[in-house]
């Protein structure tokens, strides 16, 4: 509670503003150029290859979450896409009906029942919380790609991959974020809400709860009984 109040409002907003400035100056222009000046075919290949490289981390977390079916799917996808898919450049597994999914250690911690803690905006990395920040570090440490790069003196590979991922991710969300920025009354609050809702969705593997609070049709005076469920979604 104290920590939440401390890292809460002022620091988060300030870091958010700095990140936004950096984004406008560097990442966004690059992402726009990438989207507009390279063929869609090329972007799809890059996206597939980056997804494929994540397989070991996804598998690690599938297993830790006890999701054995998903773990098997991850292994099969990796084997197919790395071989027939030419080093992951083509997502053949999805065409064959084995769809991909993402996992990370932040989600694993959530599945284990560890609370997220206060919302924190990290410099450069953006929206997060203690649980997801720890998850990010663990995922980095267990990723065999990083171990390989470290052991063979190829740190540039880690940087290039991170940069490629940032550009790929930013390019896919250009439109959505532009719209959000344009129509929001409070962009910071929108992003905060969005981040937490997306994480809840990812943790539940896209199976939303039936208790999701929503407006009722012809709703009477605001009911206090609803507040309990809404607490879970309270984004402050």
């Amino acid at each position: 509670m104290f920590l939440g109040a401390w890292v809460g409002f002022p620091a988060n907003r300030a870091v958010f503003a700095v990140n936004r400035g950096l984004d406008a100056a560097f990442l966004k222009p690059v992402a726009m150029a990438y989207r507009d000046m390279t063929p869609q075919f090329f972007q799809d290949r890059i996206n597939a290859a980056l997804d494929n490289l994540r397989a070991p981390v996804i598998l690690f977390n599938d297993v830790l979450q006890g999701e054995l079916e998903r773990a098997v799917a991850t292994v099969i996808r990796f084997l197919i896409n790395s071989s027939l898919g030419l080093l992951g450049l083509n997502d053949i597994a999805t065409d064959m009906g084995i769809e991909g999914h993402d996992e990370d250690f932040g989600q694993t911690l959530a599945v284990w029942g560890i609370p997220e803690g206060p919302y924190v905006v990290l410099p450069l990395f953006g929206p997060s919380n203690p649980r997801d920040a720890i998850g990010m570090v663990v995922d980095f440490l267990i990723d065999p790609f990083n171990t390989w790069a470290g052991n063979t003196d190829r740190n540039y590979a880690v940087y290039s991959r991170s940069a490629a991922r940032a550009v790929d991710l930013r390019a896919t969300h250009l439109e959505t974020l532009n719209e959000l920025e344009k129509y929001s009354l409070d962009f910071y609050a929108s992003i905060r809400s969005l981040y937490r809702q997306r994480r809840i969705n990812e943790i539940s593997n896209g199976d939303p709860s039936a208790n999701w609070p929503a407006p009722g049709i012809g709703q009477g005076p605001y009911r206090e009984t609803k507040l309990k469920t809404q607490e879970a979604f309270r984004t402050q």
Binding site: K182, S193, E202, A210, W212, A214, P215
Partner: protein, 216 residues
């Protein structure tokens, strides 16, 4: 002998269960199934309407906005959503503030969702399943193939029903709820304005004005 009788009694009991209890158990789902089907076709027809009236490229934007306003008021529970989004502040607002807020809220929704709506409810909308959440709420799960990226987006439509009347109470795109996001945003603004709804109304007025002026 005694054992045999017991078995028979148990069998009779089982028959009793199958004949009398089971139909009772089955009855409610079939009502729910009907509501689910209605909710599904409600979303389908809404998508068809959206394609007809909003997706033509040569339609001027102000005409699109006008059409969307009608569509929005017909198919969304605008008042309920507006009230939900304002959360606890609703009761703190005066009657005049509530009226003005709802009017501005509708304005904001119409100008800010006209483009996004035609994208989420285009002809590429496929209903994957429906689920009854409670007697009054059904979720219609859809997959929408957006033009920009290859992967289809998961869009959930929360449909509230009262008798034959059906209205959308929330749209959830890739796990992000429209109502929930607006609620966080609005409450953040009310907090910044010292807990005053009038401060939010002022911001809403500014935002809708600038969005209308930008003409896009």
């Amino acid at each position: 002998m005694l054992d045999h009788n017991r078995t028979q009694a148990a069998l009779k009991g089982l028959v009793f269960i199958f004949v009398l209890i089971l139909p009772l158990g089955l009855a409610p789902p079939s009502v729910a199934a009907e509501t689910q089907e209605m909710a599904g076709s409600f979303i389908r027809s809404l998508a068809d309407q959206a394609i007809k009236s909003l997706t033509q490229k040569d339609t001027p934007r102000d005409v699109k906005i006008k059409r969307f306003r009608t569509l929005f008021n017909d198919s969304f529970a605008v008042r309920s959503i507006g009230r939900f989004v304002l959360g606890r502040s609703w009761r703190k607002a005066s009657k005049e503030e509530q009226t003005e807020y709802l009017k501005l809220f509708e304005d904001l929704m119409v100008v800010s969702y006209v483009d996004r709506f035609s994208r989420y409810a285009g002809d590429v909308l496929v209903i994957t399943r429906t689920r009854a959440e409670n007697p009054r709420n059904t979720t219609v799960f859809t997959k929408v193939k957006t033009s920009s990226t290859g992967k289809p987006a998961k869009v959930l439509w929360r449909v509230g029903s009262r008798g034959k009347i059906m209205k959308i109470v929330d749209v959830i795109v890739e796990g992000v709820s429209m109502s929930q996001t607006l609620r966080t945003e609005f409450s953040s603004i009310v907090r910044q304005k010292g807990g005053k709804v009038s401060g939010l109304i002022e911001e809403l007025r500014k935002k809708t004005k600038s969005l209308k002026a930008s003409g896009q």
